[in-house]
């Protein structure tokens, strides 16, 4: 391995990190704006033009707050909780293919931090570690509401991960690979997986909501019952980390949805663009297309949040175990039959 590759990957990782942070930052503003618009309001519009500096103001405010540490025996875990949430939310972006490749300085630059062949498993592994951030934080808070919230989050994640995994199995049966790079490459043109796996897509979408703790599955932090849920005892930037991690994982979930089902960076006429305009331009457009898809999903997350109320706990469990899992299994069976009948 030459040093150029290390430099290239290093720069790329820094860029991805910056973009993820930026997206998470502006998701907080977008959330407030979308919430306002859907409720016929205007939303924050004082800080900067149209409220563009609002995330910075929020961050500054959080930094300047008192850092409160509750009287808990688990001070170490209390500090570790938000750190886990944050780092897990940022780790997933390593295997996402942001584009095909660029041709710069006489070498092909692959637009992916690392192309491991079990990328999908990696994503799932990292995502399911995310619940530890909430669990540890809630447990170490030494507060019954936080603990209840942590328990809810854990059981919710476990329940929905099953359905999510089953939905993915149907997809893997179709694509025959776990590498996100190959999965995106297979969806060139309009060959998007959503057209072949609509049921799987819906199941995966619903489970994404549960995995990111977003409404209607935000039982972990339902203000009405649990004060603030697992971050009740947190203040200052530790609390900021939890809130930030939620938006970062929303960004990552949107990315995974876009990559797996909505054709990643592919857009109709990409091969034509590669021939006529060159690799670089075609792929830069591809990156923007991917971000457009991601932004759509982020908007969708918010749109749903301001549309439907939170599920009751038993409804959540029934939906997960009695509806989504049977549906996902049926989806696998149907996919298998179709592959058997038509692929030979």
């Amino acid at each position: 391995m030459d040093s150029a590759i290390i430099l290239e990957k290093g720069i790329f990782i820094v860029i991805i990190f910056a973009i993820t942070m930026l997206m998470a930052m502006y998701s907080t503003l977008a959330e407030r704006k979308v919430a306002a618009w859907l409720q016929d309001r205007i939303g924050p519009n004082r800080a900067g033009k149209g409220g563009l500096l609002q995330p910075l103001a929020d961050g500054l405010k959080l930094f300047s707050k008192e850092e409160f540490l509750p009287d808990t025996p688990n001070k170490f875990l209390f500090v570790v909780g938000p750190a886990i949430s944050m780092s897990v939310a940022l780790m997933t972006s390593a295997v996402i293919p942001w584009g095909d490749k660029l041709h710069l300085f006489g070498r092909d630059i692959i637009l992916q931090a690392t192309d491991i062949d079990v990328a999908l498993l990696y994503v799932f592994g990292v995502l399911s570690v995310g619940v530890y951030g909430i669990m540890i934080g809630g447990w170490a808070s030494n507060n019954k509401f936080s603990l209840m919230s942590a328990m809810r989050a854990a059981s919710q994640m476990i329940s929905y991960e099953v359905a999510m995994g089953l939905a993915i199995i149907a997809l893997i049966m179709m694509t025959g690979t776990l590498s996100l790079r190959e999965i995106s490459a297979q969806q060139s043109g309009m060959n998007w997986n959503i057209f072949y796996q609509p049921v799987g897509f819906v199941i995966f979408l619903i489970c994404s909501f549960a995995e990111t703790n977003r409404t209607p599955f935000d039982l972990a932090e339902c203000e009405a019952e649990l004060i603030g849920g697992y971050h009740t005892e947190y203040s200052s930037m530790r609390m900021g980390f939890y809130l930030f991690a939620e938006y970062a994982s929303m960004f990552i979930s949107s990315t995974i949805l876009a990559v797996l089902y909505l054709g990643a960076y592919n857009y109709p006429g990409m091969s034509w663009a590669v021939e006529n305009w060159g690799v670089n331009i075609a792929n830069v457009i591809g990156i923007f297309v991917l971000f457009a898809k991601i932004c759509f999903f982020i908007f969708f997350f918010m749109w749903v949040r301001w549309t439907i109320p939170r599920f009751r706990y038993d409804q959540l469990m029934r939906l997960g175990w009695q509806m989504l899992i049977p549906l996902a299994i049926a989806n696998i069976v149907v996919t298998g039959i179709v592959i058997l009948l038509f692929d030979n």
């Binding site: 859907l38 819906v202 749109w303």
Partner: protein, 181 residues
């Protein structure tokens, strides 16, 4: 017709406890319907009034900041009879009367005038009873859109004559307008 089925508003809906079917219990159809309702609101006109820049239009009978009027020659109308203070349900008005001196004839219309006239804006409820009670048409609640400014000091909320009396120029302008007609 039994009493349970009568609907005066025509919007009464029967509540049923029937078991949901599998598709209903997935909530998908209902959620999609809800999504369409909310997305419609994305494009409706926003109701927010950006306050310091835009000011809400007020009703014709809006009762705002008080004003102690002058007559067309610029003399204060108030004669310090105290009826406004008496009628005030919030006891916001206080005044001190004084006799007019001969050289002050151009300043005050009546022989007695209010040397101190104060309205406590923290007490005032803007009911307009002072306006109704006044026999000299001296106090009015204007349509002024300027609200009582916030302050840390309670003393600042007691408005004296310096803030309440109509500006002289406005009185003269009023007089000219009347003469022109």
């Amino acid at each position: 017709m039994s009493i349970e089925t009568i609907s005066l508003s025509g919007r009464k809906k029967e509540v049923s406890n029937k078991k949901m079917t599998f598709w209903e219990s997935l909530y998908l159809v209902a959620i999609v319907k809800g999504l369409f309702i909310t997305i419609k609101h994305l494009f409706t006109r926003k109701v927010t009034i950006k306050y310091p820049e835009q000011v809400r239009t007020r009703s014709d009978v809006y009762r705002g900041q008080h004003m102690l009027m002058r007559d067309d020659e610029g003399r204060e109308r108030c004669t310090a009879c105290g009826l406004c203070a008496l009628s005030c349900p919030a006891e916001a008005i206080t005044m001190k009367a004084e006799e007019r001196k001969p050289e002050e004839k151009h300043l005050y219309r009546e022989e007695k005038y209010a040397s101190i006239y104060e309205i406590n804006m923290l007490r005032c409820i803007f009911c307009g009873l002072c306006e109704e009670a006044c026999p000299k048409e001296a106090i009015y609640l204007t349509k002024s859109k300027v609200l009582v400014p916030s302050n840390y000091d309670r003393e600042e909320f007691i408005f004296g004559k310096d803030k309440l009396v109509m500006p002289l120029e406005a009185a003269i302008a009023n007089g000219k307008l009347k003469n022109a007609n």
